[in-house]
């Protein structure tokens, strides 16, 4: 039998089936398996999820039991689910990514309610909206925030001023305070410089605009509200970006986007604090020409993870001590210095690591934009089925962008698809 991609794919396909089903035998008991042995404390996170110096220092700070850190690459959530189903080798402490936390809340019985091990004393140190993301509707707190992803407007000062727009961050903040202003500025810029569309990709903005709302697609009563005004407004803003021809149709992360950042054809973007890493990696000649301003129409959050304790933990109280130490304001500031892991504790924003001016942003102090943004992000309820329900809207918006569909037709198609998915997921 020759080894071809085909046979490999077939094998991989079978393996996928295997992870989906094979590991699930005997898992119809949703009660967690036996607890871990107390000799080590196993901690799982993904590469770059925790600051290196903070991690090393925490490990030496807690000699007994020894902290055994495992860096889990690849699809982290999938590996965690598979391990849960396997019933053995479950970590005591595990990271959970921000985009996965909503789908983990229904599994609250696999995690320790941190309120039972003393979380109440420290929850006030963290941003309220972030803690809410890891809180079940009946009030159990499953995770302590590692970091957050407050958004800001990143822009090229040189391109803006050459195109007749304000260049100073304070002025940009004042004149581009809403999406309408932003689009109007884009029209202005296009007149002066047709090669610099202010919107890199209109469909990339959709999720951010949704994130500026206090409500999403499904409300707390498990009702579908994706067909209501707040979603339609976000949709319409994106469509307006397309119809006023300020949309560059260059998706974030694409080769064109990367090249455009440095060459000035992507003169602005709205992204979380960690996007700075991508922008910095892509830019060589435009160092010092970037600036930061608040997100038009208010801040949103993109990403940001949690540390949780599983029900299998040998000593939940001890595990909580570790989390409490590792994620305190001092260490969050250190993690920011380590790898731009943006703190979820407002107290960290006053630490020297965050007060530093950044030459990449022309000496601007990023925290002066991100700090207030972090505190003003709306608290929104995210249902477990939220991301599945959101998908049709994003798919259909792309059809509008390519010109294949008119906005209204695409909207009604998105709503009906989303409704079908919501119904399937048990949403009313």
């Amino acid at each position: 039998m020759e080894l071809s991609r085909r046979s490999l794919l077939a094998g991989g396909f079978a393996l996928v089936g295997g992870t989906m089903v094979g590991c699930s035998s005997g898992m119809d008991t949703s009660a967690p398996a036996k607890t871990n042995v107390a000799t080590t404390l196993v901690l799982w996170c993904w590469p770059g999820g925790l600051g290196k110096s903070v991690l090393d220092e925490t490990i030496t700070h807690f000699p007994d039991p020894t902290i055994k850190y495992s860096e889990i690459g690849g699809d982290f959530k999938q590996k965690l689910i598979t391990t849960f189903n396997g019933g053995t080798g479950i970590p005591d402490i595990t990271g959970i990514k921000g985009e996965d936390i909503a789908s983990m809340l229904p599994q609250a019985n696999r995690f320790v309610d941190l309120k039972t091990v003393g979380a109440d004393a420290i929850l006030g140190d963290y941003l309220e909206w972030k803690v809410k993301q890891a809180t079940t509707l009946d009030g159990k707190v499953l995770g302590i925030p590692i970091d957050i992803g407050p958004t800001a407007l990143y822009y090229r000062e040189d391109v803006f001023t050459k195109g007749g727009l304000p260049g100073d961050p304070a002025k940009v903040a004042a004149e581009l305070s809403t999406w309408d202003d932003f689009i109007a500025a884009g029209v202005e810029l296009r007149k002066a410089n047709p090669k610099a569309p202010i919107v890199s990709d209109a469909t990339d903005f959709y999720d951010i605009i949704i994130g500026q709302n206090p409500t999403r697609y499904i409300d707390k009563d498990n009702k579908f509200i994706g067909d209501q005004d707040h979603i339609r407004k976000a949709w319409d803003i994106c469509v307006k970006m397309m119809t006023s021809k300020v949309d560059g149709k260059t998706p974030g992360g694409s080769p064109d986007w990367n090249a455009g950042l440095d060459q000035g054809t992507v003169p602005a973007l709205v992204g979380a604090a960690w996007v700075a890493l991508d922008v910095k990696a892509a830019c060589k000649t435009s160092v010092g020409k970037w600036r930061l301003a608040p997100t038009p129409s208010g801040p949103a959050n993109f990403g940001g993870s949690f540390l949780t304790i599983t029900k299998n933990a040998a000593d939940p109280a001890k595990a909580f001590e570790v989390i409490k130490y590792m994620l305190n304001a001092d260490n969050q500031a250190k993690a920011f210095a380590d790898a731009q892991i943006f703190p979820a504790t407002p107290a960290a924003y006053d630490k020297p690591q965050l007060k530093a001016a950044d030459p990449f942003f022309g000496g601007q102090v990023p925290i002066e934009v991100f700090g207030p943004a972090a505190k003003n992000i709306p608290v929104a309820y995210e249902a477990p089925a939220d991301s599945a329900v959101a998908q049709p809207f994003k798919d259909e918006l792309k059809s509008v962008q390519s010109g294949a569909k008119a906005s209204d037709a695409a909207w009604s198609s998105a709503v009906s698809k989303a409704k079908a998915i919501a119904k399937r997921q048990g949403v009313q």
């Binding site: 094998g11 699930s24 229904p106 599945a388 792309k398």
Partner: protein
């Protein structure tokens, strides 16, 4: 190596025990070494192939989010499948991509194989060169191709510009996505099929070509009257293998246009939709139903291929 050289003792006995169940049972057991030698494949297949496949069938009738208890829901998943426009779109995309990639791949491979067959020098170099795309990392290639097809700084658009043709937003248009994805599949699979065809060509007896020459047939006539008919079984093999692979296209669109399938969901193949249902939407039961539909699709296409080629073979 011949069978007789290592045949076990029982074969030396006269074959009188055929009617006796007990003796034939003992004879089967006397081959245990052979079964043992064969067993690794079957054991691995049972654990990693058969069991997951059977479980997938069971799962297709259940609701499961990956962690909660599984719940039987009868035909619910399939009912949703038939009403799901995205599923039908993904099915359509898969079939279109299959035709857009497989037909060019096999045609080019056959031409290349004939050319390689007649090449005198550097044949080894050519064969290696054509095979290299097949052993290159799929993800690396997909990233490379998405750079080639990118709008402002891509190689293809640079070429179009120099010819005075307006540049295209390849990965932002439904047809552009299909062209980009199928180009990549063609590029990757031409070499593999060329080598298989080359092996087939070399097994055609030389005297048939000589006879054709004597009869005055030119190269084109020889190709259609001798080469192609003699290659029928090889072509069937490559068509079936390409069908199975082509209907499971996943990595190329996933890396090039993302989990959403890109503009108009043009790159959304059935396997990508399956992946999205299972691992992004945590709807494993539904994903299993999609997986079964892929299985049925592959079965259907293989049956069609088989029929077309066998009927022609009989008519010969």
């Amino acid at each position: 190596m011949t069978g007789t050289a290592i045949a076990p003792a029982p074969s030396a006995e006269p074959l009188t025990g055929r009617s006796s169940g007990q003796r034939s049972g003992r004879r089967v057991w006397s081959y245990w070494r052979f079964y043992l030698a064969l067993s690794p494949f079957y054991v691995l297949f049972a654990v990693f192939g058969l069991y997951p496949m059977l479980s997938t069938i069971v799962l297709a009738f259940q609701r499961w989010d990956g962690l909660s208890p599984r719940r039987f829901t009868g035909l619910d998943n399939f009912r949703f499948l038939f009403e799901d426009p995205t599923f039908w779109l993904s099915l359509q995309n898969t079939v279109v991509l299959f035709f857009m990639s497989t037909i060019p791949t096999l045609c080019i491979a056959l031409v290349l194989a004939v050319m390689l067959q007649s090449a005198v020098r550097f044949t080894g170099v050519y064969r290696i060169a054509y095979f290299i795309p097949n052993v290159t990392s799929l993800v690396a290639m997909a990233i490379f191709f998405s750079a080639v097809f990118s709008t402002n700084f891509g190689l293809i658009n640079a070429g179009l510009r120099s010819l005075g043709i307006p540049e295209q937003d390849w990965l932002g248009q439904p047809w552009g996505i299909k062209i980009a994805v199928s180009t990549m599949i063609v590029w990757q699979w031409v070499g593999y099929n060329t080598l298989i065809y080359l092996a087939g060509l070399q097994s055609i007896p030389k005297d048939q070509y000589e006879a054709a020459k004597v009869d005055g047939a030119g190269p084109v006539r020889t190709f259609f009257s001798i080469t192609l008919p003699q290659m029928r079984s090889i072509v069937l093999f490559t068509v079936i293998i390409s069908t199975i692979g082509g209907l499971q296209t996943f990595t190329e669109p996933q890396v090039m246009v993302g989990n959403s399938g890109g503009t108009g969901q043009s790159g959304m193949t059935v396997v990508l939709y399956f992946y999205r249902a299972a691992f992004l939407d945590n709807d494993y039961g539904y994903a299993a139903a999609i997986a079964l539909s892929i299985f049925m699709l592959v079965l259907l296409f293989t049956a069609i291929n088989w029929r077309i080629f066998r009927v022609r073979g009989d008519a010969k």
